[in-house]
Assembly symmetry: C2
Homo-oligomer: 401 residues x 2
């Protein structure tokens, strides 16, 4: 019998995963708790939204003056995994954290996964030197960090682990970081929960038995989600390039963007489409919503993020997907809650090209009973979104078909 | 807005997946129902076991005379995916089907996944020409067939789909067949269930909250499963090569093997370790079993399959894993049912190097509540089993660490 070289490797990465998992778990907990507080504060102090343009200017100015090297955000993480360069500056973590809180405090429509990933990446990369990791181990460390950040901020460690393995390359999954990704995500999620951060619980109450017809309906829902995701990705990049083309002074971009968003909120007279939008997501599982909800949320999110506000795209994509699914219930004869859950993860799958992570997320959030529906929707959305992505630096490892 | 080239692709593969999914689903149902009948018949006519050597001779003779081209079985499928050559002969399906039934009727210890995969591959490949598939599409077709065979025979379509994508290459997963794999597996599983075939239901009653300690325990269980899987893979190949080295006339190998197995059954006086062993697997979830059960099942299975009997390794691996997990409950303080479930999928993950499929299988069979434990066990077992595999033709796409 041979020796087992896997054991020292396992011990080493168990140690590293425990360290970064704990740090990232604590960071995610602080982020979730303060973000919750900030969102509630805004809802009771709506005059804050008038300050959105000024807040945008402040974020833009800060990043221009002190954050040029880390402005690329998620794309910088992806680049570093593909071609490890300098250590990611730690300031990425406080910058994205404060930028996101300010965005949410003043009423931008944004998410939190970008923040979680960037905090995680910036924290973990500081250990590259003390742990004396070589180039390839540093890649693994960053993948594990992203798994931990994603897993802990959404409370879905398995989806986080697969997301870390999946997200930097379209169409291929490599297993060399599989152990660190799973351990870090599970430990970070545990730490976040121990710190007292809570995750929203979603219920799909009725899941019909699978039949030939229901498979077809699920495919249709997946196509709608994929088209919606591709539209989101393309439009956000297009609007972003417009902002860059016509406004050369960076802080002015979020200023103008904030002005438009704040005015729009004032005109339509509701805060439903700003912030994370979690209450509306929960509602979508239980009652019919206006069919245009997803389009309005898309417009608000694209304006907010393309203009240069901070946060992430994922929770808005959940909102867009859930309300899209809810709207599809008007025409597709599957239960509304199920369609909402399918849209929730499928639009995200199409926009980030991570079908397996999204499928697992659906199972972790809604239970395994809806697994087949969620799987079809995610895979079809992944396919129909084409080679678009919210992450511009995501490389194509394999054509989708 | 661009066109959506994914739609014709989707329609094409929905059609192909429906056709092969239906055929494979029916084949799996017939196989499951007759296999069940055969196993029950043997249990009430134990004198049949005395015929095991003769049955072995018959199988060996048939394959020698008429089945040389398809004897490689699963390895032929893997080869064909890597390097598409001639169409797989349809006779692979009836040969493996009858060989497996005879093996089970006469008391060999074997499984059914090999049979399901080979029937599926042989059936699906017949459509390569009428559907005018090119080389790459034929690869996708075979992956989809394997997904359908696996998903329908175990009633776990999501695990089947990921298994099809995962199993021919260690350490890497390619997404170019993701849609056909999921659709075929889901359709085949649906058809098998509609045909009235039943799958065993396993329950894990107690799943403790995840804690730092329970993560460590899960890692330990994963290591045990990985070592057990590597032992199985190495020993079965070694014993197989001994048979080939010392017995040059092929039909004589299963004759001798059958003689040893039948004598051993007679000596220990129980049929617990032959056939599929499903009753013992179910028992393992609920009550403590002798700690040597897994070792005996391993010995019986290795002798049966290395000698040239037909079937598969997977259900015996479930048995070995479940009883190993059950035995671990004597030393690892996690609930017995949970350890049984973890061993069930983790030994399989280590032996086939398909950690994500096994994790999904665990979730589909036992529910998402035990997902984190199952995931840790599968990933750790995958890692510690090293670059061994029950499939000798599985290529290394990526070193494990």
């Amino acid at each position: 019998f041979r020796h087992y070289p896997a054991i020292p490797y396992l011990l080493k990465w168990l140690f590293i995963s425990s360290v970064i998992g704990t740090c990232i778990g604590i960071a995610s907990a602080i982020f979730l708790i303060t973000l919750d507080w900030v969102g509630n504060f805004r809802e009771t102090h709506l005059w804050l939204i008038a300050l959105l343009p000024l807040g945008g200017f402040a974020i833009g100015w800060l990043y221009m003056r002190l954050g040029k090297s880390i402005e690329a955000g998620n794309n910088l993480l992806i680049d570093t995994i593909h071609q490890p360069q300098e250590i990611i500056q730690f300031r990425m973590a406080p910058f994205i954290y404060l930028g996101t809180l300010l965005t949410h405090l003043l009423g931008g429509s944004a998410g939190r996964e970008g923040t979680a990933l960037q905090m995680a990446g910036a924290i973990a990369d500081q250990f590259s030197k003390p742990f004396r990791l070589n180039e390839n181990e540093r890649r693994v460390l960053l993948i594990a960090a992203i798994a931990a950040g994603f897993g802990s901020v959404f409370g879905t460690p398995l989806a986080g682990a697969v997301f870390g393995l999946e997200f930097f390359l379209i169409g291929r999954l490599r297993y060399d970081a599989i152990l660190p990704a799973f351990l870090s995500a599970i430990i970070a999620d545990l730490v976040t929960k121990l710190c007292g951060a809570h995750h929203t619980v979603y219920y799909i109450t009725i899941v019909p038995d699978v039949s030939a017809l229901s498979i077809l309906y699920a495919i249709l829902a997946g196509i709608a989600a994929g088209v919606c995701a591709a539209t989101f990705s393309r439009t956000i990049h297009y609007i972003g390039s417009l902002f860059k083309k016509y406004i050369s002074y960076p802080p002015l971009r979020p200023f103008i963007g904030g002005l438009i968003v704040a005015t729009a909120i004032w005109l339509i007279g509701t805060t439903k489409y700003i912030g994370l939008g979690v209450p509306t997501i929960v509602q979508a599982f239980n009652e019919p919503l206006p069919s245009y909800d997803f389009a309005l949320k898309m417009a608000f999110t694209i304006l907010t993020l393309a203009a240069g506000f901070k946060g992430g795209e994922v929770t808005p994509l959940f909102f867009i997907g859930a309300t899209l699914g809810n709207a599809l219930a008007y025409i597709i004869p599957l239960p509304m809650g199920l369609l909402t859950g399918m849209g929730f993860v499928a639009v995200f799958a199409g926009a980030t090209n991570t079908p397996l992570a999204c499928m697992l997320m659906g199972i972790e959030l809604f239970g395994h009973q809806s697994g087949i529906y969620v799987a079809i929707a995610c895979v079809v959305a992944y396919l129909t979104s084409g080679h678009t992505s919210i992450y511009q630096k995501q490389m194509i490892g394999e054509p989708k078909h």
